[in-house]
Symmetry: C2
Subunit: 150 residues, 2 copies
C-alpha cells in the first residue's frame, strides 16, 4: 500500500460514489489503473464496503443509546456476542476493558423501542446487568479524519 493507495482510500472515505475516472484524475492515473488498485484494496480487506449514510431521525429512529453489558460469572464472551448479534438494533458492539464487558450503541424509534431492546438484552443468557446511557444529541458521527501519517 503506497501513497496513491492511501489517497484513493481517503477520497473514497469522503465520497464513496466517486467514479474511477474522477479518482484517476485526482491521483494522476488512468481509469483502469485506479480500478486495479481499488480491486486489490477490496480483495485485501482494506476497503470493506460502501455505505450510504442516512439521517436516523428521517428513518424514524429518534433514540440513540449506549448500553454497557455485564456478564454472568463463567460466561463465554463470544457466545454472548453471538447471541446479541440477533438484536438488529445494535449498530456497534465493542468488547471493552473495565467495569462492563461490552458497550453497545443501539438505535430505536422511541423510548418504548429502547425499553424493548433492554428487555430483550436482559433476557439473553449470560447477561447479568445492563447500564443504559441515553444520547441527548449527536454532535457528529463517523467523521472521516486525516489519515495517519507514515
Amino acid at each position: 500500500m503506497d501513497a496513491v493507495d492511501r489517497q484513493l482510500i481517503q477520497a473514497l472515505r469522503e465520497n464513496g460514489r466517486a467514479s474511477y475516472a474522477e479518482l484517476g484524475r485526482l491521483v494522476g492515473l488512468s481509469g483502469p489503473s485506479v480500478t486495479d488498485r481499488i480491486n486489490r484494496l477490496e480483495s485485501a480487506g482494506v476497503i470493506t464496503g460502501y455505505r450510504a449514510t442516512v439521517d436516523s431521525a428521517s428513518l424514524g429512529l429518534g433514540v440513540t443509546a449506549l448500553i454497557g453489558i455485564s456478564l454472568s460469572d463463567a460466561t463465554d464472551h463470544q457466545d454472548v456476542a453471538d447471541r446479541m448479534r440477533s438484536l438488529t438494533e445494535i449498530e456497534d458492539c465493542w468488547f471493552i476493558a473495565g467495569d462492563d464487558s461490552y458497550m453497545l450503541k443501539v438505535r430505536a424509534n422511541d423510548v418504548d423501542g429502547l425499553e424493548s431492546i433492554i428487555r430483550r438484552l436482559s433476557a439473553l443468557q449470560g447477561i447479568s446487568r445492563t447500564r443504559t446511557t441515553i444520547v441527548l444529541s449527536t454532535k457528529w458521527e463517523d467523521r472521516v479524519g486525516a489519515l495517519p501519517g507514515e
Copy 2:
C-alpha cells in the same frame, strides 16, 4: 417518503456504489426515476453522504477507545463540542445524559497516540475530567439493521 424510497435507502446502505440502473431493476423503476428519487432524498437530508468503509487496522489505527468527558462548572456544552471538533481523532461525539456530559469514540495508532489524544482533550478549556475505556475487540461496527416498520 414511500416504500420504494425506503427500499432504495436500504439498498444504498448495504451497497453505496449500486448503480441507478441496478437500483431501478431492484425496485421496478426506470433509471431516471431512481435518479429523481435519490436526488430528492439527498436534498431532503435523508441520505447524507456515501462512505467507503475501511479496516482501521490496515490504516495503522490499532487502538479504539471510548472517552467520557466531564465538564467544568458553568461551561457551555456547545463551546466544548466546538473545541473538541479540532481533534480529528474523534470519530463520534455524543452529548449524553448521566455522569459524564460527552462520550467520544476515538481511534489512534497505538497507546502512545491515545495518550496524546487524552492529553489534548484534558488541556481543552471547559473539560474537567476524562474517563477512558479501551476497546479490546470490535465485534461489529456500523451494522445496517432492518429498516423500522411503518
